[in-house]
Symmetry: C2
Subunit: 262 residues, 2 copies
């Protein structure tokens, strides 16, 4: 099978203009089918403040109320997504910016109200129909996905960008050998969180169990690794966790980040 | 040739929730390839005010300065475009929301600085490559276009929605019999501007010359008609000017608005 890359970049890259330009340049240079999924960055918070939309928390969890879903739709699907698309087009990368509502590529369900009412938050179906994604990707278009989905009944929903990247990677793994790359603020999973150079090059299930037993992993990284194994158990060939600065190398067969495999 | 509809809806429809829902319902029901082009509405102005972005005029012309291009990108390409897409998806219309930057569907040139510096305003190339538009349309997707373009060098640009609709209609007229529909706030071109029922059913070049000689046309409608003839002289089969409320009828062979033909 041919390779396809799903790259997720988070807020810390989007907020740093020069890191972003360099990352987009590297992304544009990838000579294979690819999808970029982006998060939000601080822009939504600062524009929200100017609009008098205060972050709203219940039991420590951020709530997406009606003004907030409008805000993130404007900032993520409008400002950030279209700036990324225009920048990639300038690098001759045929970007097409979309949300999950567009062409119904990522249908979601509004999170049921339990102990907490999260508001307009969408949980993504585990298996999505990739017909329209394949139509784009197989015609040399490069989807750039903002973390907004919809419920199919007209309501837009706020959805975690890591989850969107993982669902897309899983759903495309029948047609492609998918490498899912999570760009974050460290070079990879570190054996010693104080030492940036202690990147663990490969983690499989066995190594992971040993690392857990040895209590070598920082708490913050555990959900990311669990998420990666979930993707792998659902067909994704490999997941790479690394720094956006190292994207070029992390696309290669000698990545500098952490490769997570079966 | 098969028929294709390019429908442009303006701010007055977007600002009126029930008129919009009814118009989208009618649009969704059109059983032919179709494209929706939308304008902005008052939302950009009111959100701009909250963000402290005051409309900026030079010699009576609105200028798109740097804060304004960000504002319209948020509001047109983000909030309005994605709400339209989600609403159409709920009507089983496979909408995909795009700007001219996406898939490079509408490249533009920043308007040269003359007597007035319009700022980040894009003038659209007269002939555009419709390869990617055809890819979408021929696969039963329904493009929903926000009036934002780009210069191919990374800069987003503000572009008149009427112009975008006309350029798309012209550029697709080699593959389709295109009917371009401009929805505005009247039933059609009126013979007597005081009388809503005095719609002129058909205008061709000869009738137009006579109407001009008889001074029957209101000044405000002249640019719209000139624009329509320009589209027709460039391959568009027919242009219809009518009310968004009458969209369903204006899609038929017995339109209630004004049909402009060769």
């Amino acid at each position: 099978m041919n390779r396809l890359f799903v790259i997720k970049i988070g807020g810390h890259v989007i907020d740093d203009e020069s890191a972003l330009a360099s990352c987009l340049n590297d992304f544009a240079a990838i000579d294979a089918p690819k999808i970029l999924v982006h998060g939000g960055g601080k822009l939504a918070t600062s524009i929200g403040k100017q609009l008098g939309i205060e972050p709203h928390y219940v039991m420590g969890r951020r709530i997406t109320d009606a003004p907030t879903i409008d805000l993130v739709t404007m900032v993520y699907a409008g400002l950030i997504n279209k700036k990324l698309v225009a920048a990639l087009q300038a690098f001759n990368c045929h970007a097409i910016g979309l949300t999950g509502a567009d062409a119904n590529i990522i249908p979601a369900l509004k999170r049921p109200v339990g102990e907490i009412d999260y508001g307009f938050v969408g949980d993504v179906h585990t298996n999505i129909d990739v017909k329209n994604m394949l139509l784009l990707v197989n015609n040399n278009l490069v989807p750039v996905i903002a973390p907004i989905t919809h419920d199919g009944k007209g309501q837009l929903l706020n959805t975690n960008a890591d989850t969107i990247a993982s669902v897309l990677a899983r759903s495309l793994s029948k047609q492609y050998d998918v490498r899912l790359v999570y760009c974050f603020e460290k070079k990879g999973v570190l054996e010693n969180v104080q030492d940036e150079n202690s990147v663990i090059p490969i983690i499989n299930k066995k190594i992971y169990q040993q690392l857990l037993l040895d209590k070598k992993l920082a708490d913050g990284i555990l959900p990311k690794i669990e998420n990666a194994f979930m993707a792998i158990e659902n067909g994704v060939k490999e997941v790479l966790i690394g720094d956006a600065k190292d994207l070029m190398q992390n696309m290669s067969d000698q990545p500098s980040g952490t490769l997570i495999r079966q």
